[in-house]
């Protein structure tokens, strides 16, 4: 196992075009599921040239105003003013296709017994990865946690209007130096923040604001300080005027690294956003995280990666693998056995145990769309079923 190294993760703000697309895709999922939990939806999004493209294939008893969803997300992300790109003015091109056959039509996991859950099968051959480690209280790698915290703080400051002229598009990259496999010091932080003319004229103000109002509080939250050697760059290539969709294009599913573990562990290439919970490539990742987190929470390992491999037409994963990177306190074979005994990795069981299809109805302000920014895992601000450590005791046996 590697011991001394530097690792970098990044995260972007709500207003980043790629993340806008992810949020809109998931907001569409929320809208369908909120009114018809059995809906099946695939939503994809692209943002280019000031035009929003939203495509949805669905089988549902409800109709969703995709354009309205998109505008709502854009508005909430801060594109509501007179900046170049505007939620109300922008053109939305929607493409809607009803799925002819509802394969899960009458399948409601809540009405089914154990055996019947086997009828939920995977549609793809999929690897799903879940990871947990002791680097932070949320059992996430430090670089990605810090990155998320920075952009989230930046978003909050902007939304609160604490720095007039700050625009929604931004990014944070954090490099952590590890010693002996544990985070040792902050090696470098770079932040990008878009802004308008007002701040363009006085770049110093933006930089000092970010240093003082964003970096300092976040770092102290994580109990890590920057030292003399820490390299901090803020808008290193000069002012970013406007930013957002006017400046660069966006696409759903392009930020898989920051959606998961900041590339610290493996992650699947498939996008998580824009898929309803019957898609194993989405919920497999949640379930794998659930398992890995409980292993670490139980103290059975300091670091754990769970890999689930599903095959087309099968309910149960064809392979469940586990890697503790030599940090396990019991034999990995034994650990794997316990994990398989405690967690039911069948698609139907995941839907049932995590209650995934009913979450949007229970969260009027949206559930999945909240995941689409600041990460799908390791969230402490949301009560995510897969972040619970309620199976730790069972694992301890």
């Amino acid at each position: 196992m590697k011991r001394d190294f530097i690792f970098t993760s990044e995260s972007v703000t709500q207003g980043h075009p790629d993340k806008l697309c992810d949020q809109i895709s998931d907001a569409v999922i929320d809208r369908y599921l909120a009114r018809d939990p059995l809906s099946q939806v695939i939503a994809e999004c692209a943002l280019a040239g000031g035009v929003m493209f939203v495509a949805s294939r669905f089988a549902s008893s409800v109709k969703v105003d995709l354009a309205d969803v998109a505008r709502e997300v854009l508005r909430e992300a801060g594109y509501d003013g007179n900046s170049g790109f505007n939620a109300d003015d922008c053109t939305v091109l929607t493409s809607l296709q009803e799925l002819g056959s509802r394969d899960f039509d009458c399948l409601d996991e809540r009405q089914m017994d154990e055996k019947a859950l086997d009828r939920f099968v995977a549609f793809n051959q999929v690897n799903s990865f879940g990871f947990a480690c002791e680097q932070t209280p949320s059992l996430m790698p430090l670089p990605i946690s810090l990155s998320h915290a920075l952009v989230r703080h930046l978003d909050q400051e902007r939304a609160a209007g604490n720095l007039p002229g700050l625009q929604p598009d931004g990014q944070a990259q954090v490099s952590i130096q590890y010693r002996d496999g544990r985070p040792w010091r902050v090696h470098g932080i770079s932040m990008l923040a878009s802004h308008d003319d007002r701040l363009g004229r006085e770049p110093g103000r933006l930089e000092s604001f970010i240093r003082e109002q964003v970096l300092a509080p976040v770092l102290s939250d994580f109990a890590c300080e920057q030292d003399a050697q820490t390299q901090v760059s803020i808008n290193p290539y000069g002012p970013i005027l406007g930013g957002g969709p006017k400046l660069h294009a966006g696409l759903t599913g392009r930020k898989n690294g920051m959606d998961t573990y900041g590339e610290y562990s493996r992650h699947s290439g498939a996008a998580l956003s824009g898929k309803d919970p019957t898609r194993i490539d989405r919920v497999g990742a949640y379930m794998a995280r659930y398992a890995a987190k409980n292993v670490v929470a139980a103290g059975l390992a300091r670091q754990c990666e769970v890999q689930l491999t599903y095959a087309i037409g099968q309910a149960r994963p064809v392979s469940v693998q586990l890697d503790t990177f030599d940090t396990a306190s019991i034999a990995e074979e034994e650990l794997l056995k316990r994990v398989e005994a405690v967690f039911d990795f069948r698609l139907g069981a995941i839907l049932r145990d995590l209650g995934l299809r009913r979450l949007p109805a229970a969260h009027p302000a949206g559930f999945y769309r909240r995941l689409a920014v600041y990460g799908h895992v390791g969230r402490e601000d949301l009560e995510l079923p897969w972040e619970r450590t309620d199976r730790a005791d069972a694992l301890l046996g």
Binding site: G50, V51, V64, D65, D89, C90, T91, S95, L96
Partner: protein
């Protein structure tokens, strides 16, 4: 008359004064100025000593015959005086006008028109109207000048007097060609000139009979040409007529509606949105008045008017914000103005005076055919010269060859190609009229056949624009409405038994601006579609709305606003206190409510959070079903203060605007015909989706909806890239239709667009085919459209497209026939002479062929009924020439086969009878009959002649072919005709050869055509819609 140099002034230049008592003068400003011309004529005729005056606005000259005793100088002095009387100097006026806004064509015309201001048209004498720079004066001064009181308007008497004085406010309809000029034009053609030469040669050589025959041919040709062209002319002239218009005026203090023709200078006109400005006005009062002046200035954005402004004298027309001009339309606001110019004195009248003179511009196809006709004419001429030279070289007599080649030229030169198009297009316009399609421009017929994208309004075009209640939801029950019955499941409910239902219907009847007009039982509802739909249901449920409204007298109305998306009305309660009725956006209305009224019980009950959630859920479900959802609630209160909460929730009403019948099938027809369909609606996404799905707009593809409230802000290139596969434009305003049309056109598509509103004008004008709705459509929409669907029925449009395609096809067929037969005539002559077989046909025979085979079968082909597959084919490529190179090759091939048959028969006769009338008779008969047979083959580009599949017969063609064949047989039988045409009697065997020579080529030509489309594919859908 003393000989001296002609006197010229700055404005008058003598052109020809050599003959005493006769002078031709060039007058400055007369060029293209009818009015001045008439004034000059009128003024000078009254001058003592002048015997005759004729001006010519086309040359700018005037011819005067006068007693030579009077000097030329005096004459020039008289004219100078007339020019002076005009007041404003024409040339300087033109240059004063910085014509910034008007588009090119309009500007040019205006410059021509600028000079003089008082024309009189249509032979009615009318007094000249005074010309002032009205925009440079205050409104009060204008009123004084017009001697009008702004509060009273004119008296009836005064209005009548002025009407007599100035004439009816009517623009001269464009003058068509007179019958005589059409008839004469038949003679002023190249073939006739050649025939005249030929006749002259005949007379010179003693062939008086020949000359007579030639003159006869000319006459017959001309009469037929006259009849068809005069008919087409009548049709084209009838296109320019426009609908009757009315104006709101003050007369004796009373606002009233008068016909647009009755407006006189001094009338006080009231302007409201949608009104057509019937005369030039100096505005007196404006309230946010905006006017669409595109008809006058080409500026597509409405202009905001201000009555108070006093402008500089040289303000260009487009910037005169204190004026409103005839022919423009009010797009918003209101206003009042005094008429300062009517009829031809108005700005548009001056333009129209010139436009009216111009013939409608030639359509692209006519131009194409004209060019092609000239090219082919030159080619034929060259070939005829070649025939002449070859004949001489072969030792034929000079004179004989001259006559032959002239006759050949007459027969072969395709002189009438543009006329074929005009006649056929005009026939098509008549055919469409019988389908309730009014075509307003000749070239619209052509464009109709090429339409690739059809953009349709949703409201009122695809739907009935008749909101109907379909769904009622109460806190404790859900009801459906069908055909005016309220249903709980299958059971019909009686309103008396259900207090909640009754209260709901009462509230929507009270909280409504819909007026009930007419008799009880057959009310005519006047109001917005939504409110009408609600009141309609109340009436159907036997609620006596007038009585209800009397009991609960309305005291106050609060309209819905952006922040309060509901409407409230305050009513006096018959049992004391007041009632507040409210209807509007469910979420906001629910926030005001503390109780709800159960469907089953009479007393309100308290609302809890769970129920609130459920009610909102009901709303979402209904909205998801693409219904327009309104919440209904009420509150009873005492005193003056209108309550802001504590309302009682009654229920939700779901309404829909049903689709017109047959629309989904119609969309299918368009798709089958390869025409893309696009729906334009102001609806939100889900409604747009539901209707798009019902209509099948995307076929089996995903439905693509472009949602934008600000299309005009989008980059044009980007929009063009996006629109290519958009099926529905949602949430767009009517004014965005222009962007949509332009974006589609950028992609190279031929676009048709429907419209009926005030804001639709620019889009309809920009579209290749602007389709206006006849009933209920605004004047603006009608006036700029190409096609008006009089019955408002989109099904009619498919008939129009089918007709457009057929007409285009028929023009092609006719031309195909004319050219291929003309080629065959040339080839037979050329072949005979070049091969040393003598002249297969004599001049008389050639003339007969020209007369017999060209005219009637050609005309009949232009009347072909639609081919069965015409609506299963994709639209033609608009870039494609009407005659493609491969068409010409095909014609060449077909004519060669006909020539082959004719020459083979001719050879046989030469062998059997030797050179002489016998042989040429055989060739003559074969060629005539082969051409007649060929006309049948020209009915289709596919192999069809021998197929057993039924196809609508073309009776006219059968008649033409049969009649001509009969005439052909008759001249063979009559000795007199035989002598005249130079043919010999034929034996039975010869007739067999004729039959073989005529039928053989047709069979070969038919077999060489491509096989028709597979029968199953076509002739399905459009047969039903036809």
């Amino acid at each position: 008359m003393p000989k001296r140099g002609p006197t010229s002034t700055s404005r008058i230049t003598p052109v020809h004064t050599a003959v005493p008592g006769r002078a031709r003068l060039q007058i400055q400003g007369l060029y293209r100025n009818d009015a001045l011309c008439r004034r000059l004529e009128h003024a000078l005729e009254g001058v003592d000593g002048i015997r005759f005056v004729q001006g010519n606005p086309l040359t700018g000259r005037v011819l005067i015959l006068f007693d030579s005793g009077h000097g030329l100088d005096r004459l020039i002095g008289c004219i100078e005086k007339v020019l002076d009387e005009q007041g404003a100097k024409p040339s300087s006026r033109v240059s004063q006008e910085p014509s910034r806004k008007p588009s090119g064509m309009v500007r040019e015309m205006r410059q021509f028109a600028k000079a003089v201001r008082h024309p009189s048209g249509k032979g009615q004498r009318s007094a000249p109207q005074a010309v002032f720079r009205w925009h440079a004066e205050a409104g009060k001064e204008a009123l004084e000048r017009c001697q009008t009181d702004p509060r009273e308007g004119l008296s009836y008497e005064e209005a009548m007097t002025r009407l007599m004085q100035y004439g009816p406010n009517q623009l001269a309809a464009s003058r068509g060609r007179s019958p005589l000029s059409i008839f004469l034009s038949q003679f002023a053609t190249l073939p006739v000139a050649m025939l005249a030469v030929s006749a002259g040669v005949s007379v010179a050589t003693g062939g008086l009979l020949d000359a007579g025959v030639i003159l006869g041919v000319v006459l017959i040709n001309s009469v037929i040409g006259y009849v068809t062209e005069a008919q087409a002319e009548r049709t084209i002239q009838s296109l320019t007529g426009s609908a009757a218009r009315t104006a709101q005026v003050l007369r004796e203090g009373v606002e009233q509606s008068v016909a647009g023709e009755e407006l006189v200078p001094g009338d006080v006109v009231v302007l409201t949105p949608g009104a057509y400005v019937g005369a030039d006005l100096r505005l007196l009062k404006c309230h946010r008045l905006t006017v669409d002046e595109s008809a006058l200035t080409g500026e597509s954005l409405p202009v905001t008017k201000q009555a108070e402004a006093v402008l500089a004298a040289d303000t260009p027309l487009g910037d005169r914000i204190n004026m409103a001009y005839m022919g423009t339309t009010v797009t918003g606001g209101s206003g009042m103005g005094v008429v300062i110019a009517t009829r031809e004195a108005s700005e548009i009248g001056q333009i129209q005076a010139l436009v009216g003179k111009a013939r409608p511009p030639e359509t692209p196809m006519q131009r194409q055919l004209g060019r092609m006709g000239t090219q082919l004419g030159v080619l034929s001429g060259l070939v005829c010269t070649g025939v002449f030279v070859a004949g001489i070289l072969r030792g034929q007599g000079m004179l004989q060859m001259l006559k032959s080649s002239v006759s050949l030229a007459v027969a072969a030169v395709p002189e009438g190609l543009p006329a074929v198009a005009t006649t056929t297009l005009a026939l098509g316009i008549n055919a469409m009229r019988s389908h309730n399609v009014a075509v307003r421009h000749l070239d619209a017929v052509e464009s109709l056949g090429a339409v690739q994208v059809f953009c349709m309004d949703k409201t009122g075009t695809l739907t009935l624009n008749h909101m109907t209640v379909v769904d009622l939801r109460f806190a404790d029950g859900e009801l459906r409405v069908k055909d005016g019955d309220v249903l709980d499941g299958e059971q019909v409910l009686e309103v008396e038994d259900w207090p909640g239902l009754r209260r709901l219907l009462e509230v929507v009847s009270l909280c409504s601006e819909t007026e009930l007009e007419g008799e009880s039982g057959a009310y005519d509802l006047q109001g917005s579609p939504t409110e009408n739909g609600l009141v309609e249901l109340a009436l159907q449920q036997a609620i006596d709305v007038p009585v209800l409204r009397e009991r609960f007298a309305r005291e106050k109305v609060y309209y819905r606003s952006e922040h309060q998306p509901y409407m409230r009305t305050v009513h006096a309660h018959p049992r004391g206190g007041r009632l507040l009725a409210i209807k509007g956006s469910p979420r906001e209305v629910l926030d005001l409510c503390s109780h709800y009224l159960p469907l089953h019980g009479a007393d309100p009950e308290a609302l809890d959070d769970e129920l609130r959630e459920r009610l909102l859920g009901q709303n979402e479900t209904m909205a998801g079903e693409a219904l327009r959802v309104l919440a209904v609630a009420f509150a009873a209160f005492e005193g003056e203060n209108v309550p802001r909460q504590g309302f009682t929730w009654v229920g939700l009403v779901g309404m829909a605007d049903p689709l017109r019948e047959g629309m989904a099938e119609l969309i299918g027809v368009y798709h089958q015909a390869g025409i893309r369909t696009v729906m334009i609606t102001g609806d939100q996404g889900p409604t747009a989706y539901a209707i798009g799905k019902q209509l099948g707009l995307s076929g089996d593809q995903p439905l693509k909806i472009l949602d934008s409230t600000h299309l005009e802000k989008m980059d044009a290139e980007l929009l063009a890239a996006l629109v290519e596969d958009v099926h529905v434009f949602a949430r767009v305003s009517p004014s965005n239709k222009l962007e949509i049309v332009q974006a589609l056109q950028r992609t190279g598509q031929v676009v048709a667009m429907t419209g009926d509103g005030i804001n639709d004008g620019p889009a309809l004008k920009a579209a290749d085919v602007g389709v206006a709705m006849g009933e209920g459509g605004t004047d603006v929409a009608r006036s700029v459209s190409d096609v008006v669907l009089e019955d408002n029925n989109l099904l009619t449009m498919s008939a129009a497209i089918r007709q457009g395609r057929t007409i285009y096809g028929n023009i092609r067929k006719t031309i195909h026939y004319l050219l291929s037969t003309n080629f065959s005539e040339i080839e037979v002559m050329l072949g005979g002479i070049v091969l040393g077989l003598g002249q297969p046909l004599n001049p008389m025979q050639l003339l007969w062929i020209n007369l017999a085979t060209d005219i009637f079968p050609g005309l009949a082909l232009s009347l072909e009924p639609p081919e069965p597959g015409v609506m299963s084919r994709p639209p033609r490529d608009p870039q494609e020439a009407i005659l493609r190179p491969r068409d010409l090759r095909r014609m060449g091939l077909e004519s060669a086969v006909i020539t082959g048959g004719t020459l083979a028969g001719y050879l046989y006769a030469l062998k059997r009878y030797g050179a002489g009338p016998q042989a040429s008779t055989l060739a003559f008969n074969i060629l005539t009959h082969a051409q007649l047979m060929h006309s049948l083959s020209c009915r289709s580009e596919q192999r069809q002649l021998f197929s057993f599949r039924r196809r609508a017969p073309n009776r006219q063609l059968l008649l033409a072919v049969g009649g001509t064949a009969l005439a052909q047989v008759l001249i063979n039988l009559s000795p007199g005709m035989r002598r005249l045409i130079g043919i010999a009697p034929l034996g039975p065997l010869d007739w067999l050869v004729v039959a073989a020579g005529a039928v053989g080529p047709v069979i070969i030509n038919e077999l060489s055509k491509p096989a028709p489309l597979s029968p199953g594919k076509q002739a399905t859908k459009e047969e039903e819609t036809a």
